[in-house]
Symmetry: C2
């Protein structure tokens, strides 16, 4: 069977990492099989949704049995591209950039941080987790010597348009954007925005509209 023709909605995709996380926990607890019903109860979603979601990518289960936890875990990891050894670089070695560089859980998911860049020459040469900070001028040379898949943008919004376009021109595949601007780029690149302020304001809304208060 071929599933690559169906267009999978972003809503489904955004649920995959959560399935992956729960399956990882089950695996850690030596659970070998699970039904969509039991998983749905643990996760607080419907069993129907789980089966629909998974069937966007293939028939991973077995009637009367359920799903093999390890197999499903690996399949979802594969769908998410976690075994492709994607490399990342961080642009902007400020507080957020440093925090992300030190966040070991990304490595655990198969992402490899290979470079950190900043415009501040005072930081150049400093090392974070064994990776030295380079000046932005070295970016083009770095791309000649390394395959860089993902750019992590932890710079103020003022510089992000120019820098991101530069990365796209260098052939980067994806941008993980923490700067508070919407990227609008010429070229073929995937973008994932993390707008922390938006998230905090959403929480603020929920609190404000809460019935109890």
């Amino acid at each position: 069977m071929f599933y690559n023709d169906k267009k999978v909605s972003i809503a489904v995709v955004r649920r995959l990492p959560r399935y992956y996380r729960y399956l990882g926990e089950l695996l850690k607890n030596d659970v070998t099989r699970i039904s969509s019903k039991e998983l749905s109860e643990r996760m607080g979603v419907t069993a129907s949704q789980i089966r629909q979601d998974l069937n966007c990518f293939g028939g991973f289960g077995q009637q009367g049995y359920g799903y093999n936890v390890e197999y499903l875990y690996k399949e979802i990891g594969n769908i998410l591209g976690l075994y492709n050894g994607y490399t990342t670089i961080i642009i902007g070695a400020g507080n957020l950039g440093r925090a992300l560089a030190n966040h070991s859980s990304f490595e655990k998911r198969g992402f490899r941080l290979i470079g950190i860049f900043d415009i501040n020459r005072d930081l150049v040469g400093e090392e974070i987790r064994g990776i030295k900070i380079r000046h932005m001028d070295e970016l083009e040379d770095f791309f000649k010597e390394n395959r860089v898949d993902i750019g992590i943008l932890s710079i103020p919004k003022e510089g992000v348009a120019e820098v991101s376009q530069r990365l796209v021109n260098l052939g980067i595949k994806g941008l993980w954007n923490f700067s508070y601007a919407d990227l609008n780029l010429e070229g073929d690149v995937e973008i994932e925005n993390v707008h922390l302020s938006d998230s905090l304001m959403t929480l603020s809304y929920k609190i404000t509209q809460h019935k109890r208060w």
Copy 2:
């Protein structure tokens, strides 16, 4: 007219901060009025969606004229609760907690950081942006002396269940959760999760499924 009876969907709410951001930019550029059509073109959404979204909360526009930028900006800010002077505390003064503490843009949106807590006694007394780090043991006393609205959870997932329940028991209104676990709490609290790994995996999926490669 009263709009407080309509249940506003989370999809609408999550778009409000983005409207707020664009309106803020317009205001900065001295634009005094804007139509849903023009705003829709700038933002890359439909004019219909903008009008529908806004009308969940009230009729902020005027036929034949459009929307007054400053008025709409302030109204949305008010809906989001940005003028309520919400206070925040950070739990976990590791890399991420520090980065969030130094992130001045939250203050710009009206949130006031009043405390930072950690279990590591070596950090206690240290100051970040003038706010000294306290030990977790001081949490209860701190609540006696301060109104705390929002808890920012930047701790490893192992401790988050206990700590968050403690905060809820102390009467916190909202939790902004950066730890890689889903909170499941007894009590009345609003939760907003920021699962960075999930976001990175979503980007990884987009790259992996991209047609060009």
